[in-house]
Symmetry: C2
Subunit: 208 residues, 2 copies
Amino acid sequence: MTRDRRVVRGDQTRQRILDHAMAIASLDGLEGLSIGRLATDLGVSKSGLFAHFGSKEELQVAVIAAARDVFSREVVEPAFRAAPGLPRLVRLCEGWLEYSERRVFPGGCFFYAAGAEFDARPGRIRDLLAEARRDWLGLCRQTARDALQLGQLVEDVDLDQFVFELDALATAANSAALLLDDASAYQRSRTGILSRLRASATGPGDLP
Amino acid sequence: MTRDRRVVRGDQTRQRILDHAMAIASLDGLEGLSIGRLATDLGVSKSGLFAHFGSKEELQVAVIAAARDVFSREVVEPAFRAAPGLPRLVRLCEGWLEYSERRVFPGGCFFYAAGAEFDARPGRIRDLLAEARRDWLGLCRQTARDALQLGQLVEDVDLDQFVFELDALATAANSAALLLDDASAYQRSRTGILSRLRASATGPGDLP
DNA sequence: GACCAAATAGAACGACCGTACGTATAGTTT
DNA sequence: AAACTATACGTACGGTCGTTCTATTTGGTC
């Protein structure tokens, strides 16, 4: 089939565009991402690049989808190689911190940056970012629920509260590391998360 | 002295500009804040407004300073009417949550929005935002230290860790309330903060 | 009422923005 | 070889950006 070849060639360029666009967006925001600059950086014509998406909003939508793919590959999938329940929840937290710390996106967590940028701008972009965030929190919550059903968490744990606090501690590390150049925030985050996990775990068996 | 009147007239316009600029910046970011739009909104000429600041960066600097004033008035000063130590720390946390919840800035906490926007863009604006954040954390830390010296906190408390976690929980509420339209996040934040305070307090005396 | 300085307005600038349209190139199908 | 399609390019348009000039208005001082 030549179809494969066709698709591959177009998609290769598209992916190259998106890879760079994600990096720019994590640094300068989804709005700061401009088609002209993106084209110049990649050594491509503005119109040729534009044709791939049709509008700036479509480009932003595609960038968000691409960032979700990266996040899945870097954080979610590795955690799914751990056992369900508490071990997996631990790996989700640790994977997220490493994803921020390793600067998978040069501007830190893509969804932290984009979420803060669009959290007060109603529209499609905000909706997509909110969905991504809800999916992440939902995944954490479901994993915690599994842990509860496996008897790894104390029965009176408030799952929403539990996940809220874990997420808060992780996000705060990203924020402090970027704005304050405080790499030790990751250690504080790990300390807080571990303490929170210990407080709700039934035993030390599944914790580091 | 006419100087007073002169200054007053100019400063009134300047303050009117800054008031609106803070609102726009909290919604659309410090970069999204444009001089043309600001002038149009206020029914003022672009050049006349521009003359007040001399450059966009100076405008951004002035907006940050104005936002710090608002923050001091809305969060810090009320807390200083409480007794030093733990009571004041409680009021700082609660005051911050109310400041976010009441939408003193329509886009939620100004420094959350601006900090996330500039945390990966080196320069004067980032430095100022980092300074504001450090001052806030420093104030919380000093207040916690006072509480420790007053015997209101257990002696082995890690002050940096303690403040990191309180701040993380508060910030997470702002984020969830804005992006996810989840007003209940404030309750979760209060629950988490109170639990953290209780864990390190020597007695229930100074806690709600 | 003349004078001065501050405050505001108006018009224009070059640069960049997103977008549109027509064209050239390359690869595939017939 | 011809027809077709996907991909990329060049150019141009209208609009907004920050900024810079040159008036003009305003309010207070002498």
